[in-house]
């Protein structure tokens, strides 16, 4: 009855290059194990969802920025997904190409983003 033993062996450490969030991942790719119906639209660093008692639930930690190839976490402070993954630095650089909804969101976020940027560098 105990859920034990099969936590999945970590394949390595995932570290976000922007916020330095570090955590072991158990899978990299688009098809997380034990999730038949799920397909990810990008190559992701994945782990078993640690906050869910069910074993087959997964959690996407991050992926690679489609522009600068940096490894970034999925936190809204570090990256966003819009058909592809972009780290927030690249988004800012090409902000004009993003739809107004996203532009507005980023303008709102700016102040908090700056401080976290300072903290991480």
């Amino acid at each position: 009855m105990e859920l034990g033993g099969t936590e999945g062996t970590p394949r390595g450490l995932f570290t976000c290059e922007l916020c330095e969030l570090t955590t072991p991942f158990t899978y990299y790719g688009q098809k997380p194990p034990n999730t038949r119906a799920i397909v990810l639209l990008e190559e992701c660093y994945v782990m078993r969802d640690p906050f869910c008692p069910e074993k087959e639930k997964f959690l996407v930690l991050g992926s690679t920025c489609s522009l600068c190839r940096k490894t970034v976490c999925v936190s809204a402070d570090c990256s966003l997904f819009y058909t592809k993954r972009f780290c927030l630095r690249c988004v800012r650089e090409h902000l004009d190409q993003f739809p107004p909804q996203i532009q507005a969101e980023l303008r709102k976020k700016k102040p908090t983003e700056k401080t976290s940027d300072l903290a991480s560098s």
């Binding site: 105990e2 799920i38 008692p53």
Partner: protein, 1138 residues
């Protein structure tokens, strides 16, 4: 979208269960990521409703702001064109859709069918149409994205918190130090995060098989929970805990939190401790007995295990001591994370100082409360008040409550270990806005209990601590000034959640004069168990063991002597067979002895319960003492045999109630003022004891009882267990989310009705909402762990005892408790109930603990008919004298003996358990252990008592030794009967001078013709003159005719006529000769217990009148023949010639 929905006017209804079920078949099939019926599936539909509502609102807003959007769009297209010139084209879709922000796609039935080309579903008119499928699909994607965000948010928050801990910066340094040094000391103050983080750092950097010890069980559980959550292994078992009765350890467990005592037990079994790679000993500064000992053991273990890594974690207290004990191990000091705390010294003015006998004056404490109300009228922040003891707490609580009722700004809550757990738990509940909690606590809140939200601390500077007097073997509870270290610890409690204030009710000069550190436990307690454990671990002479802070030599000596007296160590200080066994039992020597004796004498069930009852805190809540309803309800449980028997009754009755009413037992307990938790602890302990006895061959394993169940029963039990497991898991999940809001009246109830009533109503109220949403988790755990039917049988077995068994049980108890005996004062009958006085060997004027049965009903102990017969002495003679056997002697204002059991001295117990029995020539004066004198007027019955006691003891000893040697259960050895003689005697305590001049002293050997014949009676002993006392030492404990007032030195040669009740023997005999005859002559039909062959008293000891092994060669001068006869036969033979 909205228009789509309106157009779709078929019979589609999103809220209808049928429609949803149809969609479930598409999206939530058993093989899908989310299955219908699961928790997430329910969450999805809740999300669905919210999502649709949100979309509806947004669509409306959009259509209103349509023109703005248009403008936006034109601007966008412009800017996009501009951007395309300078840099790469990202190839993003022109139209914004939230769908593009989701990085997940789901393959459900609709997709599969589309791919498969079959489109049957769309033919059915009532099923979900294309739009419904699309809506549901989109919502599902958003739901999955939402779940991902939620979980990732938790992860990010967790990591953020970890990084903000002061210890985080030292992470690499710590790992590096541990890699390169066998011992590392990590010193950090409250809030630096060492207990949770250091084990994780080591785990993450590749160490495995890590054990982390904690002084408290509760810390093991909560740390394991927290660390497994933080290391993202909440639902795995990589991180586990192990405490006395519970473990979550599995083969994959890499980090284990366990108690210090448990690790010591593990070392006892595996001296090398090969299963661990790293040992972390946390809270070493608290200096608990086990911890100090553990450090000593580990210090020597490191020599054998150079690969072992040891990490000591401590507050920044006396760090040098630990470092230098481990050959100047490196120290890493980490700053704590406390908010600034302002210290205000407010010494109590002389006129408010309590004199010794008076109650505490509450005025200094009330002034603090008033001060807080004036200076900080707003804002949150509770008050924690440290007092020395329970009496002090109730005095101050009363005064504070009056103030609180008046101001309606405070909720006053007491906190100490004798409160019920529910009452203790209240300190964690939240106060309503504008009201502060005022928690009045013993030093329990200094380390063991951490309450968040405290911003004010009042420190009385006092603590009540147990100290041990090795000479009187007595514990003392005395009030002391605290140490500077604990004063700082108390202060720190104010700064956990924000800047705080600490009011010290003493002067700064007092503080300077405090001892720097508290006295370590090893200096304050009896070391019996510790020394026994050291012996069993082969650590050599305890006196030369290198402790971090060696205990007083007298304490170790007392323990050694005690263990020798108890037969756990032999005269060379080596472990005896029983000593080895006692060392395995994780209990006090006293209790261990009872367990062993109980199993030898086939009284296992009741003795298991007794032993468990005496090892846990009493379930009888003191607060219910003065509640008349509780008292009445308790009455049937009381036993006039003493407290242990009351506990036995209580336990047995409780088991019956549990069997009949299950969870209803909670109410049953409440009505009687019983803390049910203690009873649960007893059940657990009982089982542990039973397993220990089994594993040591003292108890047979149950034979196949479970096999007899048929399959249906097994299935039933299985499905029941599954349900219980589910309940437990649900409870575990809910835990921690249920902090209640206190009511303003909470404290008033408690204060108004001295405890229990308030608890009753408080709990009753709680009981209601608990019944709705939660289960009695203790009941669930109980059912998971124990079989009620089995317990019921056990309880039954220990309830219906024959009077003989009852007497035997009492004997086992007394032999366990011996030498802790107390004699009632001779004038007790004329004293008030509360003033009954008792005397122990070393301490006069002991009173009984107010919770004892004998305190409320002392008549039981009075000698019933003190008809003073003229027997040459003015003391009353009776056959009904009582002695008290007690568990602990505790000195507070007066020495108090806690749990007590009556013990009739001569009839059985005293002569059977005592270490030394000395008599005069005709055995009419018996002195036990040099302090209790029995005087018997009737020489004949005197002799008979002594003689039967000697026989019985010999039998007991043989039986016990045989059991221990075989270590196999014997086939029901007929337990020896305690003699039930109604002998009249008087009993008194010898005065100091009398005790000094008790013995005749050594003297030239007396010609005793028959003396050698006594040998076989007392195996392995020679009857020889006692070197110190004089007289004749007949057995290890019995010295005959050594009392200095013996009327006639030659009386041992004086014969009186006596006829044996078992054979037709009639002869003039000396007392010794008679005893010997009695030892060899048994009533027909009663077999003598089989002797071990090596005893020399060979096999044929079964004959009813004599045994060949007792014979010797006798040369009769008259017949001039060598005859092989027993001594009685010799006497008979001699008589023929008269």
């Amino acid at each position: 979208m909205e228009t789509d929905r309106r157009r779709d006017s078929r019979s589609w209804d999103w809220d209808s269960p049928q429609c949803r079920a149809q969609l479930d078949e598409v999206f939530f099939r058993p093989q899908d990521y989310i299955r219908a019926g699961s928790q997430e599936h329910r969450e999805f539909w809740t999300f669905f409703e919210r999502f649709q509502r949100f979309k509806g609102k947004r669509d409306m807003a959009l259509s209103k702001a349509g023109s703005d959007a248009l403008k936006d769009e034109s601007r966008e297209s412009k800017s996009r064109k501009k951007g395309a010139v300078g840099s790469v084209d990202l190839g993003l879709p022109k139209e914004y859709d939230a769908r593009y922000r989701i990085n997940v796609s789901v393959c459900t039935r609709d997709v599969e069918e589309r791919l498969g080309g079959s489109d049957r579903r769309r033919q059915t008119s009532s099923g979900p149409g294309k739009e419904e499928i699309a809506t549901c699909r989109l919502t599902l994607l958003h739901f999955l994205d939402f779940c991902q965000r939620q979980s990732f948010g938790k992860l990010a928050k967790l990591r953020r918190e970890q990084r903000s801990l002061p210890i985080f910066q030292y992470r690499d340094r710590i790992v590096e130090l541990v890699r390169t040094h066998p011992v590392v000391v990590v010193a950090g103050d409250t809030g630096c995060g060492k207990s949770t983080q250091v084990p994780q750092y080591l785990l993450a950097s590749g160490f495995s098989h890590i054990a982390c010890t904690q002084p408290r069980r509760i810390a093991c559980i909560s740390l394991a929970k927290r660390v497994s959550f933080e290391s993202l292994n909440q639902y795995g078992s990589k991180v586990g805990y192990q405490i006395r009765f519970e473990t979550t350890r599995t083969p994959v467990t890499k980090l284990l939190f366990l108690t210090e005592g448990l690790l010591l037990r593990q070392i006892q079994q595996d001296a090398e401790l090969g299963r661990y790679q790293v040992l972390i000993v946390d809270e070493v500064h608290e200096r608990h007995l086990h911890c100090d000992f553990l450090l000593g053991v580990l210090r020597s273990l490191l020599r054998q295990r150079p690969d072992l890594r040891l990490v000591l974690m401590s507050a920044t207290i006396n760090i040098k001591l630990f470092s230098s004990y481990f050959h100047s191990a490196p120290v890493l000091q980490v700053p704590g994370r406390l908010f600034p705390i302002q210290v205000i010294y407010q010494p109590i003015p002389p006129e408010e100082q309590p004199s010794r006998s008076e109650k505490l004056d509450p005025r200094p404490y009330l002034r603090v409360l008033q001060g807080i109300d004036q200076r900080y009228p707003r804002g949150r922040g509770d008050l924690l008040l440290f007092l020395s003891g329970v009496a002090e707490i109730s005095t101050i609580q009363e005064a504070c409550q009056t103030y609180a009722t008046h101001t309606r700004r405070w909720i006053v809550l007491p906190l100490h270990s004798t409160l019920s757990l529910a009452q203790q738990d209240k300190v964690f509940d939240i106060s309503p806005p504008g009201v502060r909690k005022c928690i009045i606590s013993t030093n329990i809140a200094e380390t063991s209990v951490t309450i968040d939200g405290v911003r004010f601390v009042v420190d009385s500077g006092k603590v009540k601590e147990m100290s041990f007097d090795p000479k009187a073997k007595m514990q003392r509870l005395q009030e002391f000034w605290i140490s500077r270290a604990s004063s700082e610890q108390r202060k720190g409690r104010a700064g956990r959640t924000g800047p705080g204030v600490c009011y010290r009710l003493y002067a700064e000069s007092d503080y300077e004069a405090f001892a720097p550190y508290a006295v370590p436990e090893i200096h304050r307690v009896a070391l019996d168990s510790l020394v026994l454990q050291m012996k069993s671990m082969g650590l050599g002479d305890p006196r030369s063991f290198v402790f971090i802070d060696p205990p007083p030599a007298a304490s170790i000596q007392t323990a050694l002597t005690y263990l020798k007296d108890q037969g756990a160590l032999d005269s060379h200080g080596e472990l005896t067979a029983i000593g080895k066994l006692l060392a395995q039992l994780p209990v006090d020597v006293v209790i261990g002895k009872m367990l062993v004796l109980g199993s030898v004498f086939s009284l296992v069930e009741p003795v298991l319960t007794l032993a468990a009852a005496l090892s846990v805190q009493s379930p009888y809540l003191r607060s219910a003492q003065h509640n008349p309803d509780c008292a009445t309800a308790r009455q049937p449980l009381y036993s006039n045999q003493g407290d242990p028997f009351t506990l036995l009754n209580t336990f047995n009755t409780w088991v019956q109630v549990k069997a009949e009413r299950g969870g209803g037992s909670r109410k049953w307990c409440r009505r009687r003022g019983l803390e049910e938790q203690r009873l649960y602890e007893m059940v657990n302990l009982r089982r542990q004891f039973k397993e220990l006895l089994k594993s040591h061959g003292l108890l047979e394993g149950e034979q196949g009882a479970p096999c007899r169940q048929d399959r249906r029963q097994r299935q039933q039990r299985f499905s029941e267990r599954r349900k219980l497991h589910q309940l437990k898991r649900d409870h575990d999940l809910q835990e921690g989310m249920r902090r209640k809001v206190l009511r303003l009246e909470e404290g008033e109830e408690g204060a108004a009705s001295s405890g229990s009533e308030g608890e009753e109503s408080g709990r009753g109220r709680r009981g209601k909402d608990e019944a709705g949403q939660s289960v009695d988790i203790q009941e669930v755990k109980f059912k998971l762990r124990h079989s009620v039917t089995e317990l019921q049988e056990a309880a039954g077995a220990s309830q219906d005892l024959s009077s003989r068994q009852q007497a035997l049980l009492k004997l086992v108890l007394c032999r366990g408790l011996y030498p802790q005996l107390a004699l009632p004062d001779e004038h007790n009958a004329t004293r008030k109930d509360s003033e009954q006085i008792f005397h122990t060997r070393n301490k006069q004027g002991v009173v009984i603990h107010p919770t004892s049965v004998f305190a409320s009903d002392p008549e039981v102990l009075h000698v019933p008919e003190p008809e003073p017969r003229e027997t040459g002495s003015e003391k009353p003679e009776s056959s009904k004298h009582q002695l008290l056997a007690f568990v602990t002697l505790l000195e507070t204002n007066k020495p108090t003996s806690a749990t007590a059991s009556e013990c009739p001295p001569c009839r059985s117990a005293l002569l059977l358990v005592s270490r030394s029995v000395d008599t005069n020539a005709d055995c009419t004066r018996v002195v036990v252990d040099g302090w209790l004198e029995l005087t018997l007027s009737d020489a004949d019955s005197a002799l008979r008592s002594i003689s039967s006691a000697l026989m019985l003891r010999a039998d007991w000893e043989r039986l016990l030794q045989a059991q221990l040697r075989n270590s196999a259960p014997s086939l029901d050895p007929a337990p020896p009967r305690p003699p039930c003689l109604a002998v009249s005697y008087s009993l008194r305590r010898l005065g100091g001078l009398e005790a000094q001049n008790l013995y005749v002293g050594p003297q030239p050997a007396l010609g005793l013709p028959d003396a050698p014949a006594l040998n076989p009676l007392f195996v392995g002993m020679k009857a020889e003159p006692h070197p110190m006392k004089g007289g004749l030492r007949v057995s290890s404990f019995f010295t005959y005719n050594c009392l200095s007032d013996s009327k006639d030195l030659y009386s041992e040669c004086m014969r009186t006529f006596w006829s044996c009740p078992h054979c037709d023997f009639y002869m003039p005999l000396t007392p010794l000769e008679r005893m010997h005859h009695e030892a060899t002559c048994r009533p027909a039909g009663e077999l003598q217990p089989k002797d071990e062959p090596e005893d020399g008293t060979a096999a044929s000891s079964k004959s009813s009148s004599s045994s060949s092994s007792l014979t010797r060669v006798y040369h009769c001068d008259v017949c001039d023949k060598d005859l092989t006869l027993t001594s009685t036969q010799i006497l008979k033979h001699k008589r023929q010639h008269l």
